[in-house]
């Protein structure tokens, strides 16, 4: 270890986790750290981890809230397996997160909060800071963060309570010093947020932020500072975006490009509510939002809007999907465009409402009455949610079908830089309605796509009735046995036909080899990082793909699978995609499963890959 104070160690990437009580402002400082890092620029990915309770009793384990950011000089696809630095604002945060800290990692602790009461609430029998083992294992910096923050504000008129509330910015300032990050972006943020309304608060937070930074500079409290230099990032204009924000933008963009008016109806449910919240702020874009009385009504409102000529969208999570499934059947048989977004979380039932899981795949594919095929699209990263939402709208309109978009809590809440597309790069997804004056057969189909053409109320001379009863091509109710068989076939053929229009599968590695790793949705970052890492170590017999389209499956997948000796399917459930791969392609696919409410770590995927390779 170098003995000079200000020398930086160069690192390719680092992971920092801020953890504290849910009232400690950990999400705020985590966001600030991320926003500052993208200006370097570094490649980043973030993951907020907050409790289900809004305000669990202060100091308890249930009340711990955390935010992790992974920033690198190389492309970063996940929020990181384990933090290199952990900021623990209280004993409970230490209790929850210490086990994750990397070996010899940096542990920054607010020792002012290690009181007897707080230790008890965190179930510590003695003060862990007194344990010499802790200091052997990690580089422990126990700082009186609360005291120093208050000290920095000795001239401020703020109340003691308000002074103490600035302590998160002290921790942030100190962490900035460790990683050599600039303060200006955060100072600008503070001024924008509080400068006008609460200048005293803005002033205090800036003072404390600087005090935290200067603590490192002046006291030589640690000799270790880390430099993560500029990443080679593709040129372009970037913004930071979370998955749910990106979904909202993708929907608005799709509606604009298709000329359909967007009506979004949802019912509050974690982790989907922020899609409705985001869209409610875009009224001036002509977006109509309805907070419905329940999950069922939310999809009903959306379907009604589509029937009337707009594009209806609803979003929910697993339990809400169950409630919506009857309406999905109606959307399927009436062949109306509709988007249903499922932001998956740990289940069944209320399960782990704030934690991530991929356990609704089979429900999305098959969880309905009758033969009711519905296309399923799964975004694979926070920024990919934009394209996925846009693509879901393309499919819904081109094929007159409901589409399920399967996101998850991990990419919904996580954020990453997004290379903003130009408007021109977005394909035209508009679809003509039936023409007034022409004879109208509601279920007459396009010979290639099998899609019917929509006519909407208000169009002259095209009056017709849709409904849940089986119809013939004319749109008349039909109980004819062969008609039902034919319509069932056509509905399935239509969904299968979508495959031709979907983007090609992106193959990471060679097209033949020993092992094909098949993932879907939000595990993309972890799987791709794992495979990239192994490629760098010379394992060029491993290839991975991420399925963004689960129904219909990519047409080239079957042939690709044949080029490999083995198939591994890592997923955050107990083997749902693996079951489909096995049955559809008659291959002995191995599973890798995790249902802990947490995403995969890159290292655990690598370990499993090497294990399967050895078998």
């Amino acid at each position: 270890m170098s003995s000079s104070t200000s020398a930086f160690q160069e690192k390719k990437a680092a992971v920092v986790r801020f953890a504290g009580d849910s009232g400690d402002g950990m999400q705020v400082v985590g966001e600030r750290f991320s926003d500052t890092s993208v200006t370097v620029p570094n490649s980043i990915a973030t993951f907020p981890d907050y409790p289900a309770e809004i305000r669990a009793p202060i100091g308890t384990i249930a009340g711990v809230s955390a935010f992790q950011v992974h920033f690198g000089a190389q492309t970063v696809l996940t929020p990181g397996d384990e933090p290199d630095a952990l900021v623990a604002m209280n004993p409970a945060a230490l209790a929850v997160h210490l086990d994750d800290l990397a070996e010899a990692g940096l542990l920054i602790v607010n020792n002012a909060s290690f009181t007897e009461d707080n230790l008890k609430m965190a179930k510590f029998e003695s003060n862990p800071l007194d344990d010499p083992e802790l200091r052997k294992k990690y580089e422990v910096l126990d700082i009186d963060i609360s005291g120093l923050a208050v000290e920095a504000l000795k001239d401020s008129e703020l109340s003691m309570k308000d002074k103490l509330r600035t302590k998160n910015f002290f921790a942030l300032g100190f962490t900035y010093w460790v990683y050599g990050r600039p303060l200006d972006p955060t100072i600008n943020f503070i001024n924008d947020k509080w400068g006008k309304k609460l200048p005293a608060v803005a002033d205090a937070n800036i003072k404390v932020l600087k005090a935290g930074y200067f603590l490192g500079e002046t006291t030589e409290i640690t000799r270790n500072r880390y430099m993560i230099s500029r990443a080679e990032v593709a040129p372009g204009i970037y913004r930071k975006i979370s998955g749910n924000e990106a979904l909202a933008l993708g929907l608005i963009a799709g509606a604009r490009k298709s000329g359909r008016e967007l009506t979004f109806s949802g019912y509050p449910i974690t982790p989907a509510s922020s899609v409705l919240e985001a869209l409610a702020g875009y009224k001036h874009f002509g977006v109509k939002t309805v907070q419905a009385e329940d999950e069922i009504a939310a999809i009903g409102v959306a379907l009604g809007a589509s029937f009337a000529g707009g594009i209806g969208v609803t979003a929910t999570s697993g339990p809400g999907m169950c409630l919506k499934s009857e309406f999905m059947g109606l959307a399927c048989i009436t062949e109306l465009p509709l988007i249903i977004m499922d932001i998956q979380r740990g289940g069944p039932s209320t399960g782990l409402p704030t934690k991530t899981e991929q356990s609704d795949l089979l429900q999305a594919l098959y969880g309905r009455h009758g033969e009711s095929p519905i296309p399923v699209v799964a975004p694979n990263s926070p920024s990919d949610c934009f394209r996925a939402a846009y693509d879901a709208m393309r499919i819904a309109l081109a094929y007159n079908t409901p589409v399920i978009l399967l996101s998850d809590g991990y990419i919904a809440n996580g954020s990453e830089p997004w290379n903003i597309p130009s408007e021109e790069s977005l394909p035209d997804i508009s679809r003509p309605l039936a023409k007034e004056g022409d004879p109208y057969l509601p279920y007459k189909r396009d010979p290639e796509t099998f899609a019917r053409t929509q006519a909407i109320p208000g169009q002259y001379g095209l009056e017709h009735r849709l409904g849940g009863l089986e119809k013939d091509e004319m749109g008349a109710i039909s109980y004819d046995p062969s008609n039902h068989q034919e319509m069932t076939r056509l509905r399935a053929a239509k969904v299968e036909a979508i495959a031709k229009s979907n983007p090609e599968l992106i193959i990471r590695g060679n097209k033949t080899g020993k092992l094909l790793v098949i993932g879907w949705g939000g595990t993309h970052g972890a799987i791709a990082s794992a495979v990239d890492g192994l490629h760098n170590e010379g394992f060029d017999n491993i290839t991975s793909v991420n399925l963004r389209h689960l129904n219909p499956m990519p047409t080239e997948l079957g042939a690709l699978i044949k080029g490999f000796d083995k198939v591994l399917v890592p997923e955050l459930n107990t083997g749902q995609l693996a079951m489909i791969i096995r049955s559809k392609f008659l291959v002995d696919a191995k599973s890798m499963n995790k249902v802990q409410g947490r995403p995969f770590k890159v290292t655990e995927i690598q370990e499993r890959i090497l294990e399967v390779l050895k078998d």
Binding site: T39, V233, A234, P235, I237, R239, L249, I252, R256, E261, T263, S265, K283, H284, F285, G286, V287, K288, V290, A292, E293, D294, I296, A298, I299, G300, V301, A302, G304, A305, F307, A308, G310, G312, E326, F327, G329, L330, T334, I420, E423, Y440, L441, P442, I456, P457, G458, Q459, Y460, G461, L462, E463, H464, R465, L466, G467, G468, M474, G475, I477
Partner: protein, 342 residues
């Protein structure tokens, strides 16, 4: 199917609203008369045929859209209000009619009915109340009187029934009316009043199920009983009925009582005022039931309140006036971006 283009609104006739489909209700079903009355009502409203949209749930009554030569949507059980909400939010210019029944609208779909009413969408709800499940062949419904014997209640039902009008009052519907399937003239009048009301219009229709609950309303509306049992509500007129309007209602404290009009000062009679803000009179009227009281028909309550879909549109308009109609740059770039140079 090829549709015969409709005449201009002012020339529309009943025949323009009849579909070629065979009507498949049981012979003698009250639904026929209601269908007929709506087909007589719509041509007179000055609305183009393509601007009508009939939305139903599931049940005998909910087959209705298939028999109307308009746009229609036969949805799922109890959920027509949500679909209608989406339709009306997406296109406020449409004239939307929700067709529902006692099971559809008050049992499986009770929640949606509640929220449709309190939001005050400008739609018309026709609730066909036959006090039975017809399409599933005769189980008791949420409006069946206590003691109703059906296949699922061989010992008589023990559920206290819901009074549709009290439900609508509780949800603060802005227009509440009742009509009967054996009085086409009254139905047409009521439907026209429902249409004219700006806001949600809730109309309960006593509808006879000839197969599973025949005669359910005979005590109040048959040829022999209606004169003594039906109280026709008219705004500004005192509550009187009977062969010579000899019976009336006055209030004793908060309680209605039947009086002989000849024996009291006419100023003591309750005068019907559906437009009063207070729901108390409408509540009193909705509580009048056979056999203690006559059964009122007509408009119970009609008040003004802002309309949901108009407010949705107004908020959008206000946002656009304040911020413009949104640009691609604003949408995609948001508040804060950074540039990575090539």
């Amino acid at each position: 199917m090829s549709v015969q283009p409709a005449a201009p609104p002012e020339e529309l006739q009943r025949k323009d609203f009849i579909t070629p489909n065979d009507v498949r209700w049981c012979p003698g079903c009250g639904d026929y008369a209601i269908l007929n009355s709506l087909q007589r009502t719509l041509p007179d409203l000055g609305i183009a045929r393509e601007d009508y949209c009939i939305i139903s749930g599931i049940g005998c009554s909910s087959r209705f859209p298939y028999y109307m030569q308009t746009y229609g949507f036969h949805t799922i059980h109890g959920r027509a209000p949500s679909v209608a909400t989406g339709v009306k939010v997406a296109n406020p210019d449409l004239s939307v009619w929700i067709i529902t029944g006692d099971g559809d609208g008050l049992s499986i779909g009770g929640n949606h009915t509640l929220h449709l009413l309190r939001r005050n969408l400008d739609v018309n709800v026709l609730l066909f109340n036959n006090r039975i499940y017809g399409l599933t062949k005769g189980q008791y419904s949420p409006t069946s009187p206590e003691g109703t014997r059906t296949k699922t209640t061989p010992s008589g039902s023990i559920d206290h029934p819901v009074n549709p009008l009290l439900f609508a009052l509780g949800a603060e519907a802005t227009f509440i009316a009742r009509t009967v399937d054996n009085n086409p003239k009254h139905m047409v009048e009521t439907f026209k009043a429902a249409h004219a009301h700006k806001g949600v219009s809730f109309v309960e229709i006593f509808q006879n199920c000839v197969i599973f609950n025949d005669g359910a309303f005979d005590d109040v509306y048959s040829k022999t009983t209606r004169e003594e049992q039906l109280l026709k509500l008219e705004a500004g007129k005192p509550l009187t009925w009977g062969k010579d309007n000899e019976k009336g209602i006055r209030l004793n404290g908060l309680h209605p009582e039947i009086v002989n009009v000849a024996e009291i000062d006419s100023s003591e009679l309750v005068v019907h005022d559906p437009n009063q803000e207070s729901p108390i009179q409408a509540q009193m009227l909705a509580n009048l039931t056979y056999p203690d009281f006559p059964t009122p028909i007509g408009v119970f309550r009609q008040i003004e309140r802002p309309v949901y879909e108009e407010q949705v549109a107004d908020q959008i308009k206000a946002a656009q006036e304040a911020k413009g109609t949104g640009t691609w740059q604003e949408l995609l770039h948001g508040k804060s971006t950074w540039t990575v140079e090539g």
